[in-house]
């Protein structure tokens, strides 16, 4: 295993000439005249050329091996919007014992004036360092004399003690790049797992052996010398409804898997799931904390006193843990100390809370496992081999009569089986104390639905008075409960709501099941409002879409690059019955409509009718998937557009004499 494991397929022509670093200050007329239309007519600045090299070297004076990273870039700035490219911030890591160092910063601005290049060299005094926080130092500088059309160039060297993640390379940034090249030298004694993320493929790559690239204690060591090249890379632009940007940005990542010691030994870093399973289950702050049945022995009879079957036992334990330990707002897959301490303090991180849950479930002889996962903002985990640093969260899984439930006890207002949205991210890995681990889909677990039922009466004064009852479940209920809990009382919450609904007056309110989270949250509002109505010659016009109308199309882009991630499927129903002041027939009304998304992705159904003196209205809006592919975007857009179209039509009623 002397070679780097390349995890993507290499099928490139080897005819390309692999560049070395380019010369600083060698600005050409081609650079000056570079036409941004070749890459992106909207670009405010373009990276003309970018070259980086990383190698592992022995630092004799410090006596350690370290990573040397050298970076060099040339950027053309087109307009004032692009000036911020001349403000550079390089973050580096430090802690009590180790720190990354930036050195030999060189930076210049080149302006083409009167037929010649004028170089403004950045003064070293213009470089500032800032201790941003305990672990982060920022090196900052800005280039002098920036004008429209300036070309800036800078380079620096970074020395890092962190060999584990080598140095990732981001091909994609907020501006487009014409050419980006990364050259790495990896001594033969190190094995790295390499992964390319994002939507774009390498334009080229090549590897060769570099003989005797370093010496350790007099022993010459060979290196693998590998080039990664990407050309004409579009700028990365974030879109709505998308998870962590790191999932989509084109970049190359490294993780140390193995190191051969000079002594002949072999140190493994990333391993197989089999190794990981063994480590996690025997880990003091994970596996051991899943086995603390003893902590619950005394309290279990009291917890289970009303429970008969396994499911009700699990629910009782879930409720108990939610009350016993409050989440301290920290994520983690390991217990901070141990769950006994967390239980004593009534406070702990995510792992403390959910490891306690697992132990308690086990104490009631239920089949409980742990699931480690990565939250939505943390990106998706690598599936090809275990990357432990990808995982930042731990939940419980309990299996009852062939059904499994995913449980997270950190949200007191979440019902049994509803995972907080932050956990709903691709797949997690189930860790079992006795069996091998396996992947599982992270899904919400409970349905999200909202239903509005209105019974009302239209007066001759044009006002509608009535009662709206709303039932919410799943995320809709969780979000609302959290919102209500922000206020001192439901009254203050409703007052705020009343202020927000300018046209609707809330006369009376009642909110039920705020705390009994297993039930639907029920809000009952007595309301009064005047729908925008015109009455001409005994005809009555009004717009029936007054409950939660769709006024804006959330999908209004012409082109969508990334999948649309709504988090969870949802279902919204509106039913309205309004007693009319006398007998009417429908003159006109919005079209009854039934439209759907492809592959049963969702539907919208609308029906209105008048029978005798009652107007009734029913509407269903359903999304059956959490994630829609970019190809489905036009359908979503059209779907919403049709709904909005239809909502423009009024109901027109004619009085029957």
């Amino acid at each position: 295993m002397k070679k780097i494991l390349l995890l993507f397929i290499l099928s490139f022509s080897l005819a390309t000439s692999y560049a070395q670093n380019f010369n600083f200050g060698a600005i050409t007329l081609d650079d000056v005249e570079f036409d941004r239309n070749k890459i992106d007519s909207n670009a405010n600045a373009v990276v003309l050329k970018e070259f980086g090299t990383a190698s592992i070297q022995l630092n004799d004076s410090k006596g350690i091996t370290e990573l040397i990273f050298e970076y060099h870039v040339k950027i053309k700035i087109y307009n004032k919007e692009g000036y911020k490219q001349a403000n550079i911030i390089i973050p580096t890591y430090k802690d009590g014992t180790r720190e990354e160092l930036i050195s030999t910063i060189r930076a210049s601005t080149f302006n083409y004036e009167n037929g010649r290049f004028v170089e403004s060299v950045m003064d070293k005094k213009a470089i500032f360092t800032e201790n941003r926080s305990k672990y982060t130092v920022l090196t900052k500088f800005t280039l002098p004399n920036i004008k429209d059309g300036s070309i800036i160039e800078y380079s620096y060297r970074l020395e890092s003690p962190n060999l584990f993640n080598f140095k990732k390379w981001e091909f994609q940034s907020d501006i487009p790049k014409v050419y980006s090249e990364y050259l790495v030298y990896v001594p033969a004694m190190y094995n790295y797992n390499v992964s390319l993320r994002g939507f774009y493929k390498l334009s080229d790559t090549k590897s060769e052996v570099a003989k005797e690239c370093m010496r350790i204690s007099g022993t010459p060591i060979d290196c693998s010398k590998i080039w990664y090249i990407m050309k004409n890379i579009p700028a990365f632009i974030e879109e709505d409804y998308m998870t962590a940007a790191s999932n989509f940005k084109s970049a190359i990542y490294f993780e140390l898997s193995e190191q051969q010691m000079l002594s002949g030994g072999n140190q493994k870093y990333t391993k197989t799931w089999k190794d990981i399973d063994y480590e996690l289950t025997s880990e003091k702050s994970l596996g051991s904390q899943m086995k603390r049945k003893d902590l619950f022995k005394d309290v279990m009879p009291a917890i289970l006193k009303n429970s008969t079957d396994d499911l009700s036992k699990a629910k009782a334990i879930y409720e108990y843990i939610k009350k016993q330990i409050k989440w301290n707002n920290y994520y983690g897959k390991y217990s901070e100390d141990n769950i006994k301490k967390a239980l004593d303090m009534h406070s702990g991180n995510v792992a403390d809370v959910n490891l306690s849950l697992i132990s308690a479930l086990s104490a009631a002889n239920l089949d409980a496992e742990a699931v480690i996962l990565s939250t939505r903002d943390n990106g998706v985990v690598n599936k090809l081999y275990p990357v432990m640093s990808d995982f930042n969260y731990l939940i419980a899984k309990v299996n009852i009569n062939g059904t499994s439930y995913l449980l997270d006890a950190t949200e007191p207002l979440a019902p049994f089986g509803l995972l907080p949205l932050r956990c709903v991210n691709d797949q997690g890995r189930v860790i079992n104390l006795k069996k091998p681990s396996y992947w599982i889909d992270m899904v919400a677990g409970r349905k999200t639905s909202t239903s509005y039922i209105m019974q009302g009466k239209l007066g001759i004064d044009g006002k509608i008075k009535g009662t709206i009852i709303t039932h919410s479940t799943g995320y809709a209920a969780l979000t609302k409960r959290k919102e209500i809990k922000k206020y001192n009382s439901p009254d203050e919450y409703v007052e705020k709501l009343d202020d927000r609904l300018a046209k609707i007056k809330i006369l009376k309110q009642e909110i039920q099941n705020i705390d009994s989270v297993e039930n639907a949250l029920t809000e009952t509002y007595e309301v009064e409002f005047s729908p925008v109505a015109n009455a001409t010659e005994g005809d009555l016009y009004f717009n029936p879409f007054f409950i939660n109308p769709v006024t804006k199309n959330p999908f209004n882009l012409n082109v969508r690059t990334y999948p649309v991630d709504l988090g969870a499927a949802s279902d919204e129903r509106v039913t309205i019955n309004i007693a009319l002041p006398g007998k009417y027939t429908i003159n006109e009304k919005p079209k009854d409509l039934a439209i759907g998304l492809p592959n049963a992705g969702g539907k919208y159904v609308l029906k209105t009718l008048v029978e005798d003196d009652v107007f009734s209205f029913s509407q269903i809006l359903q999304f059956n998937k959490a994630i829609y592919e970019a190809e489905e975007y036009p359908y979503l857009k059209e779907f919403y557009s049709k709904i909005i179209q239809n909502e423009k039509a009024d109901v027109s009623l004619k009085q029957t004499k």
């Binding site: 007519s41 004032k80 403000n87 989440w327 922000k486 001192n488 202020d499 179209q645 239809n646």
Partner: protein, 635 residues
């Protein structure tokens, strides 16, 4: 120009104190819980001015967080820099029953640089801490001590820092030598401080109790103008090895000029030559100044660099000349130096910038006021103001960033308070005309031209230089209509003292007019619907409208041949109130439908009880703006 140019490096948190030990949340009287997200149980703030370079601030404070919305009120944020030492921080957390559950100290605090956005260098640092509690209520008790090695800026006291905080008890104690000369400004404080004097010390104590939380009300005046506050300024001061004395704006401005600004205006001979050449052909000082201003805009860009005497001193003109960048102080000083070359007098003016209008207090001079610098040219009565940190803004236009407020001009004759120009309702106009065709299938397309000026110029300037894709995105946000497409986008800018932007669009809105059962539904006001405002009952605060505006829309719709030309229902409206005027009118001539709408909003402060009139006015405008016409189609 939305670059926040905060240059004063010192922000103080003089929130204060206690001496009670029972933090049971049930002991809070219910009238203090009403509308409150947090209650300050007790606060004791003491400022001991032992010497000009040794001022000790000691704060003890107990805050009960009543619910999730009050969480941030428990956060302790302490800024510090080279002249500010945090000597100690101790704290405790109590649960709802008042039982101690946690202790913390300085080690638990995050320590970060106070820079926000891209700031090349900032001296300021910040320590902050928020207990991670999520069961309410709970109580946090802090006790911290800070030493200031200066007394130019003395921590002010604001016992009730927000509407949603109630205060059970609070006090502010100021200790100094009997001989120290002070100026004290109290705002909304009933009574007098308790005062004791002996040979060594003079002690003054201000006390308050039972300040209730209030419901936030929209269109309220700035809280800073009416909240209870005590501000103290010492006549003799020390600041970063600079000594000075002042008792009014005149003297403070003089110190600024003499100690911080003088002798920083030397320019290299080549630049002097360039400027001399540049203005040689110009006849008036104003034309010369315009040339110089445009030269400066082209040569420089704004970069925040907060160095030099605690962030108060500008970088030298020579440095800006060499680097081509600087912060607001440096760029104003540089522009002033260039104007000096042409013999044009100008004043370096400190201002509190932001869209909220905050004036310098004519009755109380201190160094806390202001966060930005602009330039004023008297030009023999034709006073002209320059914003120097924006490369795009027209000559002589300040925008809503610094309009209509009192600023401090630092001149060689000392400080002078000046007022920046106001943008009136007539200045802030938006005039639109559109000619749109409606097809039989409801599709709408046509051309639209809109001119923006005054504060509305500000809102639209930003979009001009954006790339086309970005403009399309922004416009579909501004014209919030489903399915709107912009085929051509074009902007003309009139960069004068009263600048204007004209936006020319050609657009398509498929299915804009709804078709249903042989009727065509048309919302005539497509682009400018006045949003509703919240209804507030029992209004307590005056109604404050900081800027007026005038909007005029004329839209011509060419209706399809398929419609039966009905009579229009009488939907014309005309309203007139102290808050403004509104008219809308629809006229149908053949197939040509003309919609005209004009809305004027007046700025000003109106009595609290008038809010319901304001609400009704806006509500009526909103209803009228949502007018939908229904046309029958030929069968």
């Amino acid at each position: 120009m939305k670059s926040t140019t905060i240059f004063f490096s010192l922000l103080f948190f003089a929130i204060t104190a206690f001496s009670q030990d029972n933090y049971d949340a049930d002991l809070i009287p219910s009238n203090l819980k009403n509308r409150a997200n947090a209650t300050i149980r007790n606060e004791e703030t003491t400022v001991d001015m032992r010497a000009p370079d040794n001022v000790i601030l000691n704060v003890k404070k107990a805050v009960t967080v009543l619910n999730k919305n009050g969480e941030e009120k428990a956060r302790l944020v302490l800024f510090y820099d080279k002249s500010t030492l945090i000597k100690s921080i101790k704290g405790e957390v109590y649960n709802a029953a008042g039982i101690l559950t946690k202790k913390f100290n300085q080690g638990n605090f995050s320590d970060e640089s106070a820079a926000d956005g891209f700031s090349l260098f900032v001296d300021d640092r910040v320590k902050h801490y928020l207990p991670s509690e999520n069961v309410y209520p709970y109580t946090v008790v802090y006790n911290y001590e800070i030493r200031y090695k200066q007394n130019l800026i003395i921590p002010e006291w604001i016992p009730q820092p927000a509407d949603d905080i109630s205060v059970e008890k609070g006090s502010y104690t100021f200790i100094c030598k009997p001989s120290d000369e002070l100026r004290i400004k109290t705002q909304n404080f009933q009574g007098k401080p308790e005062e004791t004097i002996n040979d060594k010390q003079k002690v003054m104590v201000w006390k308050i109790n039972n300040l209730f939380a209030v419901k936030p009300e929209p269109f309220s005046p700035d809280r800073a103008t009416y909240q209870t506050a005590v501000k103290i300024a010492a006549k003799d001061f020390i600041y970063y090895d600079h000594k000075g004395r002042y008792k009014n704006w005149q003297e403070l401005g003089k110190w600024n000029y003499e100690d911080l600004l003088k002798n920083r205006k030397t320019l290299p001979p080549t630049t002097i030559q360039t400027i001399t050449g540049l203005v040689a052909a110009e006849k008036t000082d104003k034309d010369k100044a315009r040339k110089i201003y445009e030269y400066m805009q082209k040569k420089t860009r704004y970069i925040s660099v907060q160095v030099g005497i605690g962030g108060f001193q500008p970088a030298s003109a020579a440095e800006v000349d060499m680097l081509g960048y600087g912060d607001c102080k440096a760029l104003v000083n540089y522009t002033q130096s260039l104007l000096d070359v042409a013999g044009i007098e100008s004043y370096y003016c400190v201002v509190e910038a932001g869209s909220k209008k905050v004036s310098f207090d004519p009755g109380f001079a201190d160094m806390i006021q202001g966060n930005h610098v602009i330039l004023c040219m008297p030009l023999k009565g034709d006073t002209t103001w320059l914003e120097c940190t924006d490369q795009k803004i027209p000559f002589g236009f300040l925008s809503t960033f610094t309009d209509d407020r009192i600023v401090l001009a630092c001149t060689k004759d000392g400080g002078k308070l000046l007022k920046t120009p106001k943008l009136t309702a007539a200045d802030n106009f938006q005039i639109r005309s559109a000619n749109l065709n409606i097809l039989a299938n409801g599709d709408v397309s046509g051309k639209m031209t809109t001119t923006f000026a005054g504060s509305q110029y500000d809102d639209n300037e930003e979009i001009i230089d954006k790339p086309l894709t970005e403009q399309k995105k922004l416009l579909s946000g501004i014209y919030d209509i489903d399915n709107i497409y912009f085929n051509t986008i074009n902007y003309n800018q009139k960069k004068s003292l009263n600048p204007e932007v004209t936006e020319n669009l050609s657009l398509d809105i498929p299915h804009y007019a709804g078709l249903n059962n042989n009727k065509l539904f048309l919302k005539v006001n497509a682009f400018n619907v006045q949003p509703n405002i919240p209804e507030v009952r029992n209004r307590t605060k005056p109604v404050y409208i900081s800027r007026g505006s005038t909007d005029e829309d004329t839209i011509i719709y060419n209706l399809p041949e398929t419609i039966q030309t009905n009579l229009l229902p009488d939907s014309d409206k005309s309203l007139k109130t102290i808050f403004g005027e509104y008219t809308c009118k629809t006229v149908l001539e053949g197939k040509k439908l003309t919609y005209h709408r004009k809305l004027v909003i007046n700025d000003g402060t109106f009595p609290p009880e008038s809010y319901s009139d304001f609400y009704n006015f806006i509500n009526e405008v909103n209803t009228a703006d949502n007018l939908k016409l229904i046309f029958s189609l030929k069968k």
